[in-house]
Symmetry: C2
Subunit: 403 residues, 2 copies
Amino acid sequence: MGIVVLKFGGTSVGDVAKIKATAEQAIREKAQGNQVVVVVSAMGKSTDDLVALATVINPQASTREMDMLLTTGEQVTISLLTMALQAAGQKAVSYTGWQAGIITEAVHSNARIQTIETTKIATALADNQIVIVAGFQGMSENGEITTLGRGGSDTTAVALAAALGAAKCSICTDVVGVFTSDPRYITGAQKLREIDYDEMLELANLGAGVLHPRAVEYAKNHQIPLEVRGAHVTETGTIIKEGTLLETKQVVRGVAFDDEIARIRVSFTSITAMNIACIFTKLAEAHIDVDIIVQSIGEDDGPSAVSFSLKEAALDEAVAILAAYKDVIGYDSLVTEAGLAKVSIVGSGMVSNPGVAAQMFTELRQADVDIRMISTSEIKVSVVVPQAKMLVAANVCHTAFEL
Amino acid sequence: MGIVVLKFGGTSVGDVAKIKATAEQAIREKAQGNQVVVVVSAMGKSTDDLVALATVINPQASTREMDMLLTTGEQVTISLLTMALQAAGQKAVSYTGWQAGIITEAVHSNARIQTIETTKIATALADNQIVIVAGFQGMSENGEITTLGRGGSDTTAVALAAALGAAKCSICTDVVGVFTSDPRYITGAQKLREIDYDEMLELANLGAGVLHPRAVEYAKNHQIPLEVRGAHVTETGTIIKEGTLLETKQVVRGVAFDDEIARIRVSFTSITAMNIACIFTKLAEAHIDVDIIVQSIGEDDGPSAVSFSLKEAALDEAVAILAAYKDVIGYDSLVTEAGLAKVSIVGSGMVSNPGVAAQMFTELRQADVDIRMISTSEIKVSVVVPQAKMLVAANVCHTAFEL
């Protein structure tokens, strides 16, 4: 009972049949005595089509006009979904971001939500309506249409849930929940009943791809229970909330992996923080994301070096930038390695179990997996390994930690 | 010099090339020292596509949700046109109907504009920007998205011109102006340099199809000079304004014609206003438009009758309705005739030239054209004739009145 916010992504509302199925799920949720708010994205590939059209007209289109263009996508979905609900005899009303009272920063393409004025939605809910809200979009205080950037619709859903004091926010997607690892590749990967916000954040950042980290952070900050569930199935999903560790004894909750990783090792005769800062400033200026960074003392009294990992697709550009600024950075040489992958274990229980990393390395060595880089946080251990060994490594970890 | 409002319909912004051409025309207008506002419709057939999608989901979709859906069409066009202007180095900004301050009645699908709050547009114009506004749409005072119905974008353009005190409102379309008759069929049809609001209203209502009558009325009420011109040509169009009669000596300014007309003659033994009211109330309830109505005394002391014309496509339904209400209406019999057409001459000068109608009838008789019905107003004479004779009749009139 209470207010429930459901969010459906573009794939889940990608055609007429799916829009009707979404309407049915919203009606089922309402039949359980809940007040229902549904947040939707643009249909299927419609955003991509609009972007393609804009690119032909102006490859450097302003972010303001891109926001103006792209927000039509969700507006189409909200009206069609509302029509589907009304066709099924359910009272319903659609609101764009600005109508729903979603006030953002005065920034285009990547605005943050500042406040939500919920009077309109609350009135409609009290009138027994299902309220359909356009995800991803809002309005600045001076009446400009803005968008929230990547993961925007998830964020809209969580922010609405927080503003409305919702009992739950369900992210309805093309997977039925959060798994201990990717069930397509890992034998025995299982759906989790519950998971901690922080664990989910690490998994989300590690390419598990189910939920955008920003939405998880927002939910954590406002302590809104999030559910990840299948879009058009009745099966319960995975609940993401605070302190699930208390209920479980497992140290490791999930194994994530990500392929097409490359590594660059930059060697110096003598190295200072200035040299290192220069490398990552130049790469950041080119919008190249760097993941793991390791500073190493050279073997056998050789030169010092800094190594970092990045997506393979960005390798050539990164090398070109480093070459262009060789004198500024002041390095001697660099070597690159492509064909790598990252495997990570995540679990809040690691904080109080220092032997976890050691156990992971031992298991990987026994499975003959070379480790090229290591990165750890309080609730995560990541290793970079040859891509050919990625699934072996992930399966080994999944089995070793009894997931 | 001053503010100029340009309006481009769906065909004129139907693809990327046409959007770029529209941007060029706006820039040319600005280069002449004007401040430029451009009103646009949805691209090409995009509105039809959205309607088709809605129909699949809910054939009785609410007008509120249809407005929500359809207004995305113009929003796509305004952003793309603004991107095209910016790509050409011109400062520009797009506004939806609600952003442009277009406040309408709280009615969906056919709202009238109540006020326009022009501060935002005026500020942008003063900042040397070309302002692009979504036609056809507005917002009610309680924040609902509304549409203006048929001819909506023309009305938006004229209303903005009035609110901004514009020097001119140019409707840029796929014809280069208003002609004395349709140049595809009438030898010697010529583009008019100027025409009166009232003359244009009669022509617009008579199927000349260039401008929606509602926009002409709005322009007349606010005394905004309207120009009808080609969308992507530099050629001057036709100016529609008050009192052009003073400058011209011509009694008849245009010949309009409309095919696929049918006629129904309903006969009574005795006829009262009540009988007649009943006929047209029942037809109006079924949304059947009736055009010319003639009440005639029967020939040779035969029964009295009322005759009226309507579109041929509505004939069967009209007959079915009249049959269903035969006793209520109290008529004896009815006869129908399809395969007719309407030919009209229009001109403000007729008011002071009573012989015009007589001349028209004489010319038609000499050309062996049967006249089935006649309707006159102060500035128009319409006759219903066999469709096979429509173009003959129109050409005869066009020649006779020296157009």
